[in-house]
C-alpha cells in the first residue's frame, strides 16, 4: 500500500496522523524509561525508596519496550534505510527475547538486570518484535501483522481485564498473573494504538477514511473499548459494596454488556438512518443538478452557436463592404462583430452561475432581510448610483437561509429592476418581508416597465428572455433565482396582476421539506 494513498482517503491530514502515532510511541517509550530510572536508578539507590509504592517494571521489560518504540518510530519514516534499521532493531530484540525465553530457568543473578520478566511478558514482547519485523520487511503481509499484533495484545488485555474484573486472580496459577498492570497496559497500548494503526497495515486508513464505513468505525470502536471497562467498573463497585460472588458479578457484567451493546447497535442504526436521509437529499440535489445540466446543454448549444455564427457572417459582410470601399457599412459590421463577441462570455458566465446554483450545498443561517439586501446592493453599487435608484426595505424580518445564495437572489432581482427601469423616472425598488407561522414571504417591486404578461409565464425557464431586454444580459438570472429558492424549499413567482412595474414574490419556509 503506497503512502500517497493515505492522503486521498484520510480525514486527518497525513502529517497529523503520523505525528499522532509518533507521540503515542514516544509516550510509551518515555514511560518505560521513567519507570526504569525511578525503579532502578540505573544502579544507584533505587528511587523507589524515595517514592514508596511507585510501580516498578523489570529492567529488561522496560528496555525491551523502549527498543520497540524506537523501532516503531524508525518504521514510520519513509526511507528504505530507516525501514531496514527498524527491522534490525526489532529482529535483534526478538533474538534476545527468544534467548531469554530459552534460558530463563538458568538465570540466577540477583541484580536488576538479571531478573527475567514473566513468561507472559516475554511472549508479548517477542510477538511484538516479530510484528515490527514483518511490517518492515513484508509490507504486503498486513493481515498477518495485524493478527500478530492482536496475539501480542491479547495476554496483556486479559491481564488488564482480569485485574479489573477479578482483582487479578481468576486463576491464581495462570502465568498471566505475574504480569504487572502497568506492563500489561503499556504492551496493550503499544500493540493496539501504535502497531494496529501503523500506516502499512491499512487499518488506520479504514478507520480514518471519510467513507460511511470509516465514520461508523470511528464512532463504534471507542464505545466497544469503553463498554467492557464500564461494565467492569460497575461490577467492581458492586463487588466492593455488596461483596458479591464472582458468579453474580459475571452475570451482572454480561447483562450490562448486552444492554450497552444493544444501545450501541440502536445508536449506530439511527446514525446510519440520518446519513441515509443526507444521502437521499444529496441524490435529489443531484437530480436537480442533472435537470439543470440538461437544460444547460441544450440552451448552451443554441445560445453559443448564435453569436459565433454572427461573428463569421459579419466578418464576411465586413470583407464585402471593404472590397467596395464602403467604410461606413464596414464600420457598422465591425461594431456588430464586437457586439456579438461580447455576448459570448456573458452567456457562458450566466450558464455557469445557473448550473452552479443547482449544485451548491446549502448552509443555513439566521439572516436579516436588510443585511441581505445591503449585501446585494453593494454588488450593484455602480449601476444603482449611476441610475439614481433607491432601494427601500419596508419591514424587517429574519429568515433562515444560505446568505450567499440569497444575496445572489436579491442581486439578480435588483439587476433585473435596473435593466427594466423606465427612463422617464428614477428607479425605486421596494422590498418587503412578512412572517407567518410557516415561514417568510418576501416581495420585491419596482416602478419599471414591468413584465410582459406572456413572458411572466415562462420567465423562470433558463431559455426565456424578456423581449424588451433582448441583447442585455443573458436572461438566466430569474432561472437561477428559482433554483436557489426551490433548493430552500420555497417558491417564486411573478405577480401577474401588478401593473405599476414588476413585482416578484417568493416564500422561504422555516422548515425545509425532507
Amino acid at each position: 500500500m503506497s503512502q500517497t494513498m493515505l492522503d486521498t482517503y484520510l480525514r486527518l491530514p497525513r502529517r497529523r496522523y503520523f505525528s499522532a502515532l509518533e507521540w503515542h510511541a514516544v509516550a510509551i517509550g518515555s514511560i518505560a524509561a521513567a519507570v526504569l530510572i525511578i525503579g532502578y536508578g540505573f544502579g544507584f539507590e533505587p528511587l523507589q525508596m524515595i517514592i514508596p509504592g511507585f510501580p516498578t517494571m523489570k529492567a529488561r521489560t522496560a528496555a525491551a519496550l523502549m527498543a520497540l518504540s524506537v523501532s516503531f518510530l524508525m518504521s514510520l519514516r519513509g526511507s528504505n534505510r530507516s525501514r531496514w534499521g527498524s527491522a534490525a532493531v526489532a529482529a535483534v530484540l526478538a533474538v534476545l527475547l527468544a534467548h531469554m525465553w530459552a534460558t530463563r530457568s538458568l538465570s540466577t543473578g540477583a541484580d536488576a538486570w538479571s531478573i527475567i520478566p514473566s513468561d507472559a511478558t516475554i511472549f508479548c514482547l517477542l510477538i511484538g518484535a516479530v510484528t515490527l519485523v514483518v511490517i518492515n520487511l513484508r509490507p504486503g503481509w498486513s493481515l498477518a501483522a495485524g493478527v500478530l499484533a492482536l496475539v501480542a495484545a491479547t495476554p496483556a488485555l486479559f491481564r488488564i481485564f482480569g485485574l479489573f474484573l477479578f482483582q487479578g486472580a481468576p486463576d491464581a496459577n495462570s502465568p498471566l498473573n505475574t504480569m504487572a498492570l502497568h506492563t500489561a497496559t503499556l504492551i496493550a497500548w503499544f500493540m493496539l494504538v501504535c502497531v494496529m494503526l501503523h500506516p502499512r497495515l491499512g487499518f488506520g486508513r479504514v478507520v480514518l477514511q471519510a467513507s460511511l464505513r470509516g465514520r461508523l468505525l470511528r464512532r463504534a470502536l471507542p464505545v466497544v473499548v469503553v463498554l467492557p471497562v464500564v461494565a467492569a467498573a460497575i461490577s467492581l463497585a458492586l463487588s466492593m459494596t455488596h461483596n458479591w460472588a464472582s458468579e453474580a458479578l459475571f452475570a451482572v457484567n454480561a447483562a450490562i454488556s448486552v444492554t450497552l451493546a444493544a444501545l450501541l447497535i440502536w445508536w449506530l442504526s439511527s446514525l446510519v438512518e440520518g446519513w441515509q436521509a443526507e444521502a437521499n437529499e444529496q441524490a435529489s440535489r443531484l437530480s436537480r443538478a442533472n435537470e439543470a445540466l440538461e437544460q444547460y446543454a441544450s440552451s448552451a448549444a443554441h445560445d453559443l452557436k448564435a453569436p459565433a455564427r454572427h461573428v463569421l457572417l459579419y466578418g464576411e459582410l465586413l470583407e464585402e463592404a471593404l472590397a467596395k470601399d464602403d467604410l461606413a457599412t464596414a464600420r457598422r459590421h465591425a461594431r456588430s462583430i464586437r457586439d456579438s463577441a461580447r455576448e459570448m462570455p456573458n452567456i457562458i458566465d450566466g450558464m455557469l452561475d445557473y448550473s452552479r446554483s443547482a449544485f451548491t450545498r446549502i448552509t443555513l443561517s439566521e439572516n436579516s432581510l436588510s443585511e441581505l439586501v445591503q449585501a446585494a446592493a453593494r454588488q450593484n453599487a455602480g449601476d444603482l448610483e449611476s441610475t439614481g435608484a433607491q432601494i427601500t426595505v419596508l419591514h424587517e424580518v429574519r429568515m433562515r437561509c444560505d446568505s450567499t445564495l440569497m444575496t445572489t437572489v436579491f442581486h439578480n432581482l435588483i439587476t433585473n429592476a435596473i435593466k427594466n427601469r423606465r427612463r422617464d423616472r428614477p428607479l425605486a425598488v421596494r422590498i418587503d418581508g412578512v412572517r407567518d407561522e410557516t415561514g417568510v414571504r418576501i416581495s420585491i417591486e419596482d416602478n419599471g416597465v414591468g413584465f410582459d404578461p406572456d413572458f411572466a409565464v415562462v420567465a423562470f425557464n433558463p431559455l426565456a428572455r424578456g423581449v424588451h431586454t433582448a441583447g442585455e444580459g443573458t436572461g438566466i438570472g430569474l432561472a437561477t433565482c428559482r433554483t436557489i429558492i426551490q433548493s430552500h424549499g420555497g417558491q417564486i413567482r411573478i405577480d401577474p396582476n401588478w401593473r405599476n412595474g414588476a413585482r416578484v414574490e417568493f416564500t422561504l419556509p422555516d422548515k425545509r421539506p425532507a
Binding site: A301, H302, K305, A306, H310
Partner: protein
C-alpha cells in the same frame, strides 16, 4: 411574370433577422417582412397572409413548434420553413410531425445564406412548397 412572393421571417434575434432579410431580399421578386415577437407574428400571419413563413425554433414566450401547431390547428395552410441554430434530429422530427414544409439549420456563411434563400424561394416558385 409570377407575382411577388411575400415572405415573413420570424426570429427573436435581431442579428439573425438581419441576415435572413438580407439573404431573401437579395433574391429579387420577394417582399420580405420580419417579426421578433412570435405572438405578434401569429397575428400578422393571420391578417397579412404571407406566401411563405420562415420560422425560428427557439424563441421566448412561444417557440417555433408552438407557432406552427397554432397555425395548423386553425387550419392555416401557409408553407412554413423552420430554421434553427442546431438541427437536432428530435427537433427535425417534431417539426415535420407538426406540419412544417422544410427544416434548415442556420447557415454559417453568407454564400450559404444566399443559396438557402434562393433554394427556398425557388422551391416556392416551382410549387414545390405546397400549401399544407
Amino acid at each position: 411574370m409570377s407575382k411577388l412572393a411575400s415572405v415573413l421571417i420570424v426570429d427573436d434575434n435581431p442579428r439573425c433577422l438581419e441576415f435572413m432579410t438580407l439573404a431573401f431580399s437579395a433574391q429579387g421578386g420577394v417582399a420580405v417582412s420580419s417579426e421578433m415577437k412570435p405572438i405578434t407574428a401569429l397575428d400578422r400571419i393571420r391578417s397579412e397572409k404571407p406566401d411563405l413563413v420562415v420560422l425560428d425554433v427557439k424563441m421566448p414566450d412561444l417557440d417555433g413548434f408552438g407557432v406552427l401547431s397554432l397555425l395548423r390547428s386553425e387550419g392555416n395552410p401557409v408553407p412554413v420553413v423552420m430554421c434553427s441554430g442546431s438541427a437536432l434530429q428530435n427537433d427535425v422530427d417534431r417539426a415535420y410531425a407538426g406540419g412544417c414544409s422544410g427544416y434548415i439549420e442556420k447557415p454559417t456563411t453568407l454564400e450559404d445564406y444566399r443559396a438557402m434563400a434562393g433554394a427556398i424561394v425557388g422551391y416556392w416558385k416551382r410549387g414545390e412548397l405546397p400549401r399544407h
